[in-house]
């Protein structure tokens, strides 16, 4: 990949910033995949970025964003991942933020956007419901208008990290008479409102990442409605189609590739190294080559975006291939650990056991288990293949 001189200078700045400003303890926890202080780390890092003026790499300058080009955003995301910086929380910055910028009132923009930038408000998402995963149009959570309030009742699932949240953006049903997509509205709800209950969903890695959120006659001021009533589907679609620069997760994949190589280069008890096994080395080489190609594919999409070429199936390609590579890397990491992969820290923690941390580096097994999600969420890879087929076949 050939960078321009100014892009090269930009890259140097970012690397310097990361070297100077990313706290060592946070960096170590991210490297060890230790999420015991997840919220504190994310909020602290968002504050550091905000102080630098980099709180929102993808936002336009008028809303306090960096105004960076897409190539710059890509470089920033990649370097942050390689430096073991915490992920910036997407729910505010990449999801509800752009919706508020595009469809919110000036009052909503002034009220919410600065607190997303600073990290003061932790946002979460209320989209999926029991039985409606990829098929959002079938959602049932009701919002009934009473005076200048909506009264919201229902249940959301797959709410990520809502246990830490100050606010939730929700799709709710305000009209059941027409087509399912009609009659959906987009509401912002204070998580401290009476009637909200958050219950953890136990996942296969033993972690607490997602919740069920129950709404029992929760009263929401009508001023928290985004745009027009019953037009929420439009805003939801805008949100889903929004993010393309980091959808392939190139930096995160490169970081996991490094880790895989570290595991494979480690001397084992019997003196051998896995990377010297031609069969395993070929597996690493294979995924490294696919990632090399995907990096170029990603840059091609970014270039086309900058030239405002009509969007094609590219985002779906990046999503599918990026997640397949991530799952493959986590799978090979587990293979590289051998019998040590039998340990689950999540399962052990729940059972009250504290295994020797040296038994397994970086919670790798639980990471593998957790990464099964990436081909399911954000529009499952099956949905992405449907999208590609519709675009290329047009029948």
């Amino acid at each position: 990949m050939n960078l321009t001189q100014s892009e090269q200078a930009f890259l140097t700045d970012i690397r310097q910033f990361l070297a100077d400003k990313l706290p060592a303890d946070i960096r170590q926890r991210v490297a060890a995949r230790d999420d015991s202080q997840l919220k504190e780390d994310i909020v602290a890092w968002q504050g550091i970025l905000h102080a630098q003026g980099w709180g929102a790499p993808a936002w336009p300058a008028e809303f306090g964003g960096t105004g960076w080009s897409k190539v710059q955003q890509y470089l920033f995301d990649t370097e942050c991942a390689l430096a073991d910086a915490p992920l910036q929380l997407a729910f505010g910055l990449k999801m509800v933020g752009p919706v508020i910028m595009r469809f919110g009132t000036p009052e909503q923009q002034q009220r919410f956007l600065p607190r997303i930038l600073s990290g003061e408000d932790w946002w979460c998402q209320g989209y999926s419901e029991p039985g409606s995963g990829s098929d959002l149009a079938s959602l049932k959570t009701q919002a009934v208008r009473e005076g200048d309030e909506y009264v919201v009742s229902g249940q959301k699932v797959w709410n990520t990290l809502g246990q830490h949240a100050d606010w939730i953006f929700c799709l709710v049903r305000t009209d059941s008479s027409g087509k399912p997509q009609r009659g959906i509205s987009f509401l912002l709800i204070d998580m401290r409102s009476p009637g909200i209950t958050v219950r953890p969903t136990r996942l296969l890695d033993g972690g607490h990442e997602v919740n069920e959120v129950w709404f029992d006659e929760v009263r929401v001021p009508a001023e928290n409605l985004i745009g027009e009533e019953n037009h929420g589907w439009t805003y939801a679609k805008f949100l889903l189609g929004h993010e393309r620069t980091n959808i392939a997760g190139i930096g995160a994949n490169q970081r996991e590739l490094q880790r895989l190589k570290e595991f494979a280069r480690a001397q084992r008890n019997d003196g051998g190294r896995l990377i010297d096994d031609p069969v395993f080395a070929a597996k690493i080489a294979q995924v490294e080559i696919e990632l090399m190609a995907l990096e170029i594919t990603n840059l091609r999409v970014i270039e086309a975006d900058e030239r405002k070429q009509a969007p094609g199936p590219e985002a779906s390609i990046l999503k599918i291939k990026g997640t397949e590579i991530m799952q493959r890397l986590s799978e090979l990491q587990v293979e590289a650990l051998g019998p040590a992969a039998l340990l689950s820290n999540g399962e052990s923690r729940i059972a009250g056991l504290q295994p020797d941390p040296s038994l397994q580096p970086a919670n790798t097994t639980d990471f593998y288990l957790n990464q099964r999600k990436v081909s399911i969420y954000g529009g499952s890879n099956e949905i992405q293949r449907n999208i590609i087929a519709q675009m290329i076949l047009q029948i």
Binding site: W158, R268, V279, G338, A340, L342, E347
Partner: protein, 370 residues
């Protein structure tokens, strides 16, 4: 492969006791505890005679063969059993049945059969590929006995056992020796963890552990131990097959009932074809499970290990493919602890990492071809 009526009944009664005492919610309630399994269920398994399955008839047991172990193992996998059946009632029991002398047999086999005693074989060592490579743990003669030093890795249910059967090398002597070590021996330390399939395992550290002369089991045990390990692996393959088949069935059921975009997701052809491939993997795994059982007791080590390695490879690959597809086709629900499918997935992941990896067995198999 035609099973006798007795064999079918054995499998059915195993399934019945696991369906009641090992029912999914009960199991889950137990697995977060210290031992990770239900003592009541363990006693029910003993009452059914399953813990005596691998105790020879001459020692008062059932003296079953590889086919019985396969049929029972399949049921254990289906039921996601977290109790130390495979570790104690299969692997350790087979080890003693094969190698122990009369006094040792009388001392331990009845207790194993009744469920009072839990024993495990502490053989595998980290970094040298499970059962595929020799041990580096050392036994040194002392006055009146032996001193043991070494590190055994990820020994299933070591923390639940009262007796560890520890393999070791003796300086200057060929092959392996085996020693019975009580779990409370001085110098023995366990680093316990829960495994990804909700069982218990531990790294076993031996630092100057002293045992008496009567603790030694057999003489040079390499050949006998290899036989036991292959029989144990065949039973483990059956356990995995039970989980594979159950994961497939769970996926078929789910896709029949779960609706999306107004129809059962099982109507979507892309998913249908993937379930067809899951079935092919499952049936191929069943075949290798049968083949492994029918060769598990072969006396020719080369022929036996060739089939066992082939089985581990093919069933390991089916485990990964069917497990991953089952979770994926369940969508987000497949990620939850609530549905059985995520437990099958984890059990199958554990299978891949136990008894030598797919790559290791593929390499061992390939070496027979050149």
């Amino acid at each position: 492969m035609n099973f006798t009526d007795e064999q079918r009944m054995l499998q059915e009664s195993t399934r019945r006791v696991l369906a009641s005492g090992g029912e999914f919610e009960l199991r889950n309630a137990q697995r977060d505890g210290a031992s990770g399994y239900s003592q009541t269920l363990w006693q029910e398994l003993a009452d059914l005679g399953l813990l005596a399955l691998n105790v020879p008839e001459a020692d008062g047991g059932i003296g079953a063969g590889a086919v019985e172990n396969m049929l029972v193992g399949e049921a254990m996998g289906e039921a996601l059993l977290t109790a130390p059946f495979h570790a104690s009632a299969v692997e350790a029991t087979l080890t003693l049945a094969k190698l122990a002398d009369e006094a040792q047999r009388q001392r331990w086999l009845p207790a194993l059969a009744s469920g009072e005693l839990i024993a495990v074989l502490a053989h595998a060592e980290s970094g040298n590929a499970g059962s595929l490579e020799p041990t580096t743990t050392m036994a040194t003669p002392t006055e009146g006995g032996w001193r043991l030093d070494g590190l055994k890795s990820m020994i299933y249910h070591a923390s639940n056992a009262q007796l560890l059967l520890v393999s070791a090398r003796i300086q200057g002597a060929p092959g392996l020796a085996l020693f019975a070590v009580p779990s409370d021996a001085a110098g023995l330390a366990l680093h316990s963890c829960a495994t990804v399939d909700a069982q218990r395992a531990a790294d076993v550290q031996l630092r100057g552990v002293q045992v008496g002369s009567d603790a030694r089991i057999g003489g040079e045990v390499s050949k006998g131990l290899a036989e036991v390990l292959d029989q144990s692996l065949a039973a483990l393959c059956a356990d995995a097959f039970g989980a594979i088949q159950s994961a497939l069935h769970a996926t078929i059921d789910y896709s029949r009932n779960r609706k999306q975009f107004g129809q059962p997701i099982g109507r979507f052809q892309a998913l249908q074809h993937r379930m067809a491939d899951m079935l092919i993997h499952t049936e191929q795994a069943r075949s290798m499970c049968y083949l492994a059982a029918s060769h598990a007791a072969d006396s020719d080590p080369a022929a036996r290990r060739r089939v066992l390695s082939a089985a581990k490879v093919l069933i390991g690959q089916a485990a990964r493919r069917v497990g991953q597809e089952a979770v994926q086709l369940h969508g987000g629900m497949g990620m939850t602890d609530e549905l059985k499918v995520s437990h099958y997935f984890r059990r199958l992941l554990a299978f891949e990492a136990r008894g030598g990896s797919t790559d290791q067995h593929l390499r061992r198999y390939a070496a027979t071809m050149a």
